[in-house]
């Protein structure tokens, strides 16, 4: 155990756990913390993971983030342009970790439009991107750097980009068990969908975070087990791997004010 770690590093290690038992799948982490999480998992407990360079190649070992110097040689393993990414997605051999703007109680997420009407939203974002296909093809996890009731909203997402455990939207001939949303990692806690009828369930609280903080900042009820563990602190070995994967310390800019990992 290390006593000196940041919240970003705690989140990277907690997020890496999502990939631990995945076996040989393409791990895609969009954004600095999810990318480092997938990279850490591949560099430590799940070396069978596959990973791209975020452009067009599969790598045998993850690239460090940011400028890598002219003499850096990526461990290129095979071509993986976008068209081939879809072949992989539709095979189901992938686990994506992404950060949607809204997540509702059913695990549906929104990356597209907020407020107003669909024809003229108040705030237009990216669009549905690959979320519809990802969510119905393979396992997915979410990383939310700012746990609030504006992300974890009370009602349904303004625009549903990804399928979740909503019985009212269940396609004919399919079961809610076909949906596979794994972990939600936030700046406060780790959650999953392991509650009754796929209800969101608290798995662990980050060091120094009270249960009330999570409940107050979540717009829907969640299942709270009798005993909730504290999210494991990064080990010195994990911190060393993270430092090597992120030599320019981009992780320090991912969560506001880069707080310490233990807030007690």
């Amino acid at each position: 155990m290390s006593n000196e770690y940041t919240l970003a590093e705690l989140c990277i290690c907690a997020s890496a756990e999502a990939f631990r038992d995945d076996g040989e799948v393409l791990a895609t982490g969009i954004g600095v913390i999810p990318r480092l999480a997938a990279s850490l998992a591949m560099q430590s407990f799940n070396p069978d993971l596959m990973m791209t360079d975020s452009e067009a190649w599969i790598l045998s070992a993850p690239n460090p983030i940011g400028p890598r110097g002219d003499d850096f040689v990526p461990a290129t393993e095979s071509w993986m342009g976008f068209s081939r990414i879809f072949d992989n997605v539709w095979s189901g051999r992938r686990h994506a970790m992404l950060g949607p703007t809204q997540v509702d109680r059913w695990g549906q997420s929104n990356t597209s439009a907020l407020g107003g009407t669909y024809d003229a939203p108040k705030t237009m974002m990216l669009g549905a991107r690959g979320f519809p296909g990802n969510s119905i093809s393979h396992q997915n996890s979410f990383f939310v750097p700012g746990h609030s009731a504006r992300v974890f909203i009370e009602g349904e997402c303004d625009f549903v980009s990804s399928i979740g455990y909503n019985p009212e939207r269940l396609p004919k001939g399919r079961s809610l068990d076909d949906v596979d949303i794994r972990l939600i990692i936030t700046d406060l806690c780790v959650m999953d969908f392991g509650g009754a009828n796929h209800q969101v369930r608290l798995r662990s609280l980050h060091p120094g975070i009270a249960l009330e903080q999570v409940l107050e900042n979540t717009g829907f009820p969640i299942e709270v087990p009798d005993s909730v563990p504290t999210t494991a602190a990064p080990t010195a070995e994990q911190l060393a791997i993270i430092a090597a994967l992120d030599p320019h310390n981009q992780r320090a800019m991912q969560i506001k004010d880069n707080p310490a990992g233990d807030r007690s």
Binding site: G81, S83, S112, G133, R169, K172, G173
Partner: protein, 291 residues
């Protein structure tokens, strides 16, 4: 057959109301010189199909777009495309919002002459509720419902490549050809701008020929425009122009809006544009991005 033409000749073959596919991905290898030629024309009411970047943002801002078929519009390092957002938030464009992979299936269906391709993508999401034109169908082989992703039949496609010959053999030697092969096949006419025009013998080496992703019969016109992807990238020749994209994005918040940007840069020709952005040598020196 010599398929060389000018950008103006390409645009003269396009008509109001056409459905136009645009190759590339976000800020990468977009046929921006051809887009600029559309901006200089009085073409209107277009339906665009694109993995969108500034191509979509500019055409929306200039009022050229009636309908947009999209999964995202983004400049990657600037995640939200400011001019596209403005168009969406003002309700000035119709949209068909689909998943990235659905777009590939729609293009494939068009390329293969199919009315649709069945897929599970979109089920359980607002893709199927917000798009009444996308139908759900029963399968003859199981008891599930499926999305019938309709063919995205294109009147024309616009694509930028690094090398091409006059007969329309096109090479993409950057690491990803994206869905450009499907854009080329899905369109009645595909017009390609190229950074470098080469003699056909260039392709005699298997290493070069391996980087050709569709047959020349799918290419209707070739326009030689060095630097023609700027401000998007054309790997391995040049990266995307970060300061230029920042200025372009900021213009969405200016009083003059996109008009101010266009007045400063668009000019009457691509030569005017390249002068305004510092010349071809400057474009070719823009470093490739690190991902």
């Amino acid at each position: 057959m010599d398929k060389q033409m000018t950008a103006a000749e390409v645009v003269s073959q396009l008509e109001d109301g056409m459905t136009i596919g645009i190759g590339g991905w976000g800020p990468r290898r977009k046929p921006m010189a051809l887009v600029r030629e559309i901006l200089r024309s009085d073409l209107k009411d277009l339906t665009l199909v694109s993995y969108g970047g500034a191509d979509v943002g500019m055409l929306c801002a200039a009022g050229k777009v009636k309908k947009l078929v999209f999964a995202f519009v983004s400049l990657d390092f600037i995640p939200l495309e400011a001019h596209f957002r403005k168009a969406r938030q003002s309700g000035s464009i119709e949209v068909m919002e689909i998943d990235e992979g659905m777009m590939l299936l729609g293009l494939r269906a068009a390329a293969w002459g199919l009315p649709f391709i069945p897929t599970e993508i979109g089920l359980g999401t607002d893709i199927v509720t917000k798009n009444p034109d996308i139908k759900l169908i029963d399968s003859p082989y199981d008891d599930k419902e499926w999305v019938a992703m309709p063919a995205l039949n294109l009147d024309a496609s616009l694509i930028h490549v690094d090398h091409a010959d006059a007969r329309g053999v096109c090479q993409i030697s950057g690491p990803d050809h994206y869905m450009d092969d499907m854009f080329a096949r899905a369109a009645k006419k595909t017009y390609v701008s190229c950074d470098e025009l080469v003699d056909s013998s260039y392709f005699n080496s298997p290493e070069q020929a391996r980087l050709v992703f569709w047959e020349r019969a799918a290419t209707a016109g070739v326009v030689h425009i060095p630097g023609g992807a700027h401000p998007s990238s054309c790997s391995p020749l040049y990266g995307f122009d970060v300061p230029h994209f920042k200025e372009y994005s900021a213009a969405a918040k200016d009083e003059a809006g996109f008009g101010g940007y266009a007045d400063k840069y668009l000019g009457a020709s691509e030569a005017d544009y390249q002068t305004a952005v510092g010349g071809l040598d400057a474009i070719r020196q823009i470093p490739l991005p690190t991902y």
